[in-house]
Each structure stands twice: as C-alpha cells, then as structure tokens.
Symmetry: C2
Subunit: 572 residues, 2 copies
Amino acid sequence: MLEKEKTELASKEKQRVIKAALGEKPAGLVLKNASYINVFSKKICRGDIAVENGVFAGIGKYSGEKEIDLSGKIVLPGFIDAHLHIESSLASPAELAKALLPHGTTTIVCDPHEIANVMGAEGIEYMLEATEGLPIDVMMMLPSCVPATPLDESGAVLCCDDIAPFYNHPRVAGLAEMMNYPGVVSGDESVLDKISFAENRGKGIDGHAPGVCGNGLNAYVAAGIHSDHECTGFAEALEKLERGQHIMIREGTAAKNLEALLPLLSLQYEDRCMFCCDDRHPNDILKSGHIDNIVKKAVAAGTDPAIAAKAASFNAARYFGLAGKGAVAPGYKADFIIADSMENLDIEAVYKNGVPVYENKKIADFAAPKISSELEKKALDTFHVEKISEKDLSVSGRIPVIGMIPGQIVTEKRNAAEKIDLEKDILKIAVIERHKNTGHIGTGYINGFGLKKGAVATSISHDSHNIIAAGTNDRDIVLAVNRIIETKGGIAVYDDGKLVAELPLPIAGIMSGEPIEVIDKKLEEAKSAAFALGANPGVDPFMTLSFMALPVISSIRIMPCGIFDVDNWKFI
Amino acid sequence: MLEKEKTELASKEKQRVIKAALGEKPAGLVLKNASYINVFSKKICRGDIAVENGVFAGIGKYSGEKEIDLSGKIVLPGFIDAHLHIESSLASPAELAKALLPHGTTTIVCDPHEIANVMGAEGIEYMLEATEGLPIDVMMMLPSCVPATPLDESGAVLCCDDIAPFYNHPRVAGLAEMMNYPGVVSGDESVLDKISFAENRGKGIDGHAPGVCGNGLNAYVAAGIHSDHECTGFAEALEKLERGQHIMIREGTAAKNLEALLPLLSLQYEDRCMFCCDDRHPNDILKSGHIDNIVKKAVAAGTDPAIAAKAASFNAARYFGLAGKGAVAPGYKADFIIADSMENLDIEAVYKNGVPVYENKKIADFAAPKISSELEKKALDTFHVEKISEKDLSVSGRIPVIGMIPGQIVTEKRNAAEKIDLEKDILKIAVIERHKNTGHIGTGYINGFGLKKGAVATSISHDSHNIIAAGTNDRDIVLAVNRIIETKGGIAVYDDGKLVAELPLPIAGIMSGEPIEVIDKKLEEAKSAAFALGANPGVDPFMTLSFMALPVISSIRIMPCGIFDVDNWKFI
C-alpha cells in the first residue's frame, strides 16, 4: 500500500473510533461495569469499556451495539510472552496458538532458533509463514547464534547477511538471545555486526548471559544487549537491571526463576521486568498453562495484581516497541482477557482485536496459515542422511564415559569403557549427523541413563538437532535411528527389534502438526516405554538425551565427530 | 553511508568500548568514586564510571587515561526538555544552547511552531540547519497546527504533505502538540492525516488539551495523541495518565504546573512523567535556569532525587525513542552532569558524548551551525508589507473595546468607544498583516494597557506573528510599526516621535542572533520604557500585547481583518 493510502485508511479508522469514543454512536462492543487493570497507574480501575473497530475507544459511560455486563469480573490486557521457543512445545505454531489462547496469551515473541539450526534462513521464513494470520500475534526475534558453536554440525550457518533481510518483515522485532558471550566480549566482528545491524534498524537485541557480572557484564551490555532472561537470583537480576537490561522473569518447564526474582515485582523495579516461558513442554502447557500461570504464582506470592498483570503485558509491549499493545486504554488494540478475579485468574474469554477468540471454553475457528508449497515440502524433508547399520556404531578402544547426573544437564567424565556393560549401566550413545549426509557418526558410552533393554532415539538434540540415540544393543539403536530417518523426525523407542513407542515430528524433525494433546499423549507413552525399559525414573529420558550433544555445557559431550571434552575444548 | 558500512563502523566502535568495559585497556575518562543516579533502580549508586568513545563503558572498578576524583559529587544523566519553543527565548538556537548548557541540559525537544507560522516549511528547515552540530542535541517535533485557526493570517499553511518529508530527518522525532482539539474530535481528515502519517512512521505525537476530560479525552487519546503538557491539576493529570498519555510537567515563564502535579513524582506514576519548559523567556532562563530549576524545586518539595532526575532525563528519552540517551549505564551516550549534590544541584560540569562542554564556569567553544545562504537570507527578510501611514489606522464608528485583565491573557468585551480617551485608558490597538502584503490592517480600542504617552509595537504576536501595536496617538503607532518593518522584526517603543527603546528580532521577526544576555538587557530596557510611558506595572506589556491577536482565547481579539468576537466566533 502506498504511504498516502495507508495514512488515509488509518484516518478513516480513527474517525470511527473517535465517534464511538465521544459516544456519538454506539460502540461495537461495550464491557459494562468492568473492573480492569490500568497499566499506567498500576491500579484496578472501573468503568464501561467501549471497543470499536478492533481497538479500545474509551473508558467511561458507554452504550454499545453489543453489551456484556462484567460486574464482578476483571479485564486484563492480553498476555505477552517475551521470549519463547515455539519448537519446545513440539507443536506447530497453529496448534500451539490453540493451546495458549485459553490461557490469555495474545502475543508471543519467538526465537525460531531450533528450526533455524535445521533449515537456516528457510526455517525463519517457514515460521513467519506458519504464524501469519493466527489469532495470536507472533513476533519474531532473529536467531543470533546458528550454529551454537563452530563445532556444531547444524543444518545451516547464519551470518549477519543471512538474517538481515528479515528485518523488513513487519513481525520481526529484533535480534534473539545473544548466547555467544565470548564472541561479544572478544569483539568478534561477525557477532558484533549482527548487533550493530539490528541497532541501526532501531530493533531490540535480547541477551542470554547466565551468571555474567562485573566488568564482563558491563562489556556485554555496552555492546548493545538490552535484556536477560537467565537470572536465577535477585542480586544477579538487580545488577543487570542497574546496568540497563530489561529482566525477563522466566518460568519454563526446566528453569523456574520467579520465586527468586519476586522482589523485582515491586514499584521500584517492575517497569524493567516482564515474563517469559522460554521453553515449555507440551505436558507443562496442558497442566500448568502459560503466562497466566506466572501471573497466578506471582499474585499468590504477594505481588500486587496490577504489577503482575503489567509485567505480563505492557512492559513487554513497550520493550519490543509493539505500539498500541499491552494496555486497556483509548487507541490500544483490543487484545484482552476477561477473568473472574486476579486471585483465581479463571479465564472466561479472550479477545483479539476486539473479537472473541476464546469463550465458553471454545476457541473460535481460524484458517490455518498458508505455507508456500515448496517451503512446506522442504520443512517436511530435512533428513539428508543414509540409513545406518550396526557397523556404523563401532567404538574404537577404551574411551571415557559420559556420566549423566540425575536432574541436571551438566555431565561428568567417568572411567573409560570399551563396551556396553548393563550391570554397570554403561550404554552406547551415538550422534548421527543428518543435515548434509556427511556420514559423521559419533559413538561412545554413557553412564546413568538406566536402560536395561532396547534403545531410544530422538531428532531433538540441541542445538543442531542431529539424531541422538542411546541403547543397550546396536541392533535396537540402529532400528530406532533408522525409524527416525524413515519418519523424517521424531522420537522412537525400540525393544528387541520392535518399535514399542514413537512420536513422529515431521516438521524439520522437531515439531508435529498434530494437536498438542495428541503430541503430549504420544510423548508420555514414549517416556513410559523408556521407563519400562529401565530408563532412570524421575528424569525425562528424551530431554536429558537431547542435551548430550550440546558442547557449550560442561564437561563431556558427544558430537558427530566424536567424544568432546568441553572443559578443555578438544575432541578426545 | 551504506548500511553495511554503517554496521561495520558501529561494530568497530563497540570493540573499543568493550575493551574499556572489560578493563583490558584504560578508558579514555574515568570518574572515580562517583555517586550517580541510576534511572533503572531509581537509586543513587556508587562506582568508578568509565567513559570511552563518547559512551559509558561500565561502572565498577576502572582506571582511565584521564581520571577525575568525584568523591562527594554526584553524576546525573544530561537533562532533556521534552517540549520547548526555542523562539520563546528570543534567541537563536546557538545562543540558546550557550544559555542552557550551564544548566545541564544536553537535549531539547523543540516545536518550531512560531517560525513555521512565519516561514512555513522553510522555517522548519531553518531550525534544523540552525541546530545542526550544536553541543546540545536538538530534536524536532513537526508543527501540527500552522496556522492556529483558519482565521489566522499567518505566513504559511502547513498540510500533512508539507511536513511529511521532514520525517526522514534523523532529528525529527514526531508531530508536535496537536492544539486543534476540535479538529481531532470532529474527525477532520486533514488533521487526522497528520496524526496517521506520524503514527505509520512509528513517530510520537504530542498533545495539548488543557482541561479536556471524559469522553472528549477518550476520543482525543484514541486518535493517537500520546502526551500532554497542559495539566494544571493532579486529577486532570491522573485522568490523562490513566488513559495512556505521558504527562509533561511544565514549568514555563507564565505557566507553572509543578507544584500542583508533585504527586505524580512518586513510584506509582513517575515512569509516565517528564519535564518541560514550553515557553521560557530570556530573563527567566538567566535568573532561574532551565530543567535544573524544575529538578531543584521538585527535590526541595520532597520528591525522591532519583525520581526527579529520571523524569528530567530517561523518561523523556524513552518516550521519544531516543535510543542510548538518558541514563548512566553501559552503552549509553555519555551526556552527563557533575553536580555538588542533588539538594543544591550546583552544576560544576556538563559533558556531551564524553567531552566537557561546560566546566569551570565556561562553555567550550563550538562552531556556529552553517545555514545555507538562501535560507538565511529568507529568514532575515520576512516582512512583506508596505510601511503604514496614519490614515491606515482609522476606525469607523463606535466599536466594543478589548478589555485586558491584569495577569491574564483572556480578555473581555467592554463598552464601545469611538476614539482614544487617555482618561478612560482607551488606547488604539492595531494589527498589521506582514507576510503577504495583503494590506490587511485591523484597528480598534483597548482598555487596561495603561499607556499615558507614546506607543509600543512588536512583531511577536501569537501565532501568526503579524505586527501588533498599541498607543496613545496614531503618529507614534505609525512610527513604531514602521520601525519594526524597517528593522525586519522586533519590539519598538516610541514617545512623541522619538524611538526610546527597541529590541531588534531580525530572524523571522521573532528571534535575535545576539547573546541572550544582550537580548534580555534590551527587552528589559524596552519594558522599562513602556512602564515609563504608563504601561500597567507588574504585567509584561509585550507579552500581554502578543496574545491580543490570538483568536483561540476568549473573548475578544483583534485580527488583521478587524475585531473578532471569539465567544460567538464572528467579526464584529
């Protein structure tokens, strides 16, 4: 649209809203006698809320074409997740939207880091297309660290020039979590260029710097990194906040930081804080919810309800420059939640642009986003690898064993082994490069996984998402890996030559197009199957496995080119 | 510069800053043992502040090439005036900068409304050129209401298309105060287009809506107007704040709102508030200062010093989207103030981009901005009008007298007169259109001005800046008016055929290129001369006169086409 036409259209829309605001004509919708969260005065205010043409027209005394009496209810701005990896839900964006809407989320700010590690720039493009026109607004931050390390054998390498064109997309809000702290503080030009480019475009730059403090933090922040979602303690968060970073308080499935960061949710600090989930697994979303879950927890812990609701909406909108979002106020987009109270936060309805998208426990129908056929085909065909055979799994000589620690993703180097030994819980582990048909297959031994029979494999393997497998015998490992190659992604559990459970993840090998309830059921079945084969109880076997090929975490990992000593940064 | 080069340059600059932040090399400047205002935690913090390459590198323990021990001192972010008409100082931007720097102001957000009423788009261009490269950053908001009313005979009419090109200028931050409330709420397309255009460009839109409340306020805010600087009471301010407007707390020469709005400067509301001077006259700047004066008053009245300092800096920077401004934090521009204490706020030094621009009571030399010669010529030649003679001042018949009210700019319609009557304080008043040689000269009578002898005239006459004169006899009025035409702008006082005082204002007829001290001296002499001729003591005679042709204020005004009844919106 030409700029002139765009201006005139906007003026015409304003005319309608102004008339409704003045009360010169009935507003399309009036929420009568509403209490609502005022994010500006941080108070609960009252009035009739007039909605017209998708935006709030005014708060006062109003009549509407449609009126809903909200006596005793409360209206909140729609929730915004400030940092989310859609891929962690294992669901497609459309299916995830269906899961999040009942929880009041109307905007998510995503980092398509996982799919970008598989598909590169086409992965970003896929996510943009797969989120177009959803009843939830999906903003994108562009992955800053693909691959995670030069060591990673990912599907793509994304330089500044590769991601730069995406900044022209109206839903791209900035550069996603800059995990490469060493690259930043060493002044690596390829890293700084990504920051500088985003900055010159006036875009936000998210951080990821667990535990960084002092002069190192000064340097990281001075480079232009404006947020952090890795704070685990108040002192760390306050230091980052005082250096100018916005703090995203994270409640993910694994990492839960709200309790430690509750002191941030006071008048002194709240305006620099927002909420995010980062990684939430399907079961967690179904059981606990989403941002509503964080708000409820915060309020239960004594946070002022208005401050909690503001951190869950307006603060994120302001940080990301999402104009007209995150408030119940004239001219703001009518993205809102109707709940019973701030204490229960029982969500009765959710509106997007003035239209109900969730009410009476039902989500309004919406058309699935159209993905261009070539891109869709590519996303469903990301396994460029030959099937393996038992000889591919040979291990030469005695090598140190990867020691898993229950409930943690760090590992430790344990005594060397030269074969599988079930009595000592020494299993075989293998990583199969699957993006470029390099034939790279790393093999080794693992202790602490617990399997007594069979094998498991998954194509979720951070951050490169090669195929990773662990098992009690080569035959079942080969079958599990080949099953994943056959189904072009997923999780497979084999016992004695038989497939006993699986979760297909055909979208880039990391997501399913099925409803989240179906994904959850299959995943839980796969976990049960693994537990039945002896996998360590109380630990998610696939999540644990998915971190074993991530070389940024201590102390020993398996890579497609062999066992890697992280602490000494060299292959063994 | 190409985007790629710009990116690479930014990265190179980041490399320097990162090294200094890490302490790997001495920073260019270190403020040792400093206390400073942390605008994020709203506290006074301590540390060595490292400055490198024009930005803050870090706060902690640092060594520098140059070190200044600041034990016992306090560092604040440079002050930002959120809404200022440079023209009200009567000084050129360069001379005003010299006057403001000692007060700690490093950024002003200006509305060149006055010069635009004289010169149109060229007036905006002139101000952009005249502010380029000053040691104070001058951001521009584009005048939204030129002329003030369709009735005004100004030098130009500015439509959306006229101002639109200026949004490409890096120092244009948005649309200036939308004074045309009736135009907005009536849905006038030419008014809304200006708002829509700015909005589509992601720019801010300032408001001006004294006393507007209820559904009218809803409509005005819903139209997209994000700030207000006209609040005179807390209830009014809170209503606007709760509707989403940012509140600019104004302390001008005439309008002083801080005291009434002090409750805004609490943790509950402070993040939506900033400071502005709007209109400050030369004498007031010299005597009282600028934003420092507001901060001092606020602190003296009990405001938390950190909150006062934040409202004076960061909040305005954030509202206007001035990235990297308004905080002492890594990566922020090193625009800062060194003061003795928050209580006295005795400003010892002011730095801009890490370089001292004021210290030891001296302003660092700077080159005057280069204005293109044709534009300069035009700015110095804005009087397109023939000299007048006594017959131009004839008044036909008995007409109502404009009644001045001491200390106010509203007027009242008083009993009709048909001639000057000094005993009854009935003087002649005249407005001479001076932009387009229309020959329009409005004449009438005024009561309450007080002159017993002679006449005064000024080419500052809101908002059209025609020549306005009042006097006891036609001869002196003619001389005063013609003197202003001759000098191409200013203030003139005549007595018995002789020029007794004058202030030349050759830049667009409203500003002088002389130092503000000289302007002030001449203005004070002109006032004294007017008082000596009998002008009402205690009231600024020229300021009072300058509002007599502004048809938006009750109840009776003089326009180039005659006496105007504001309340009934018709000529008499």
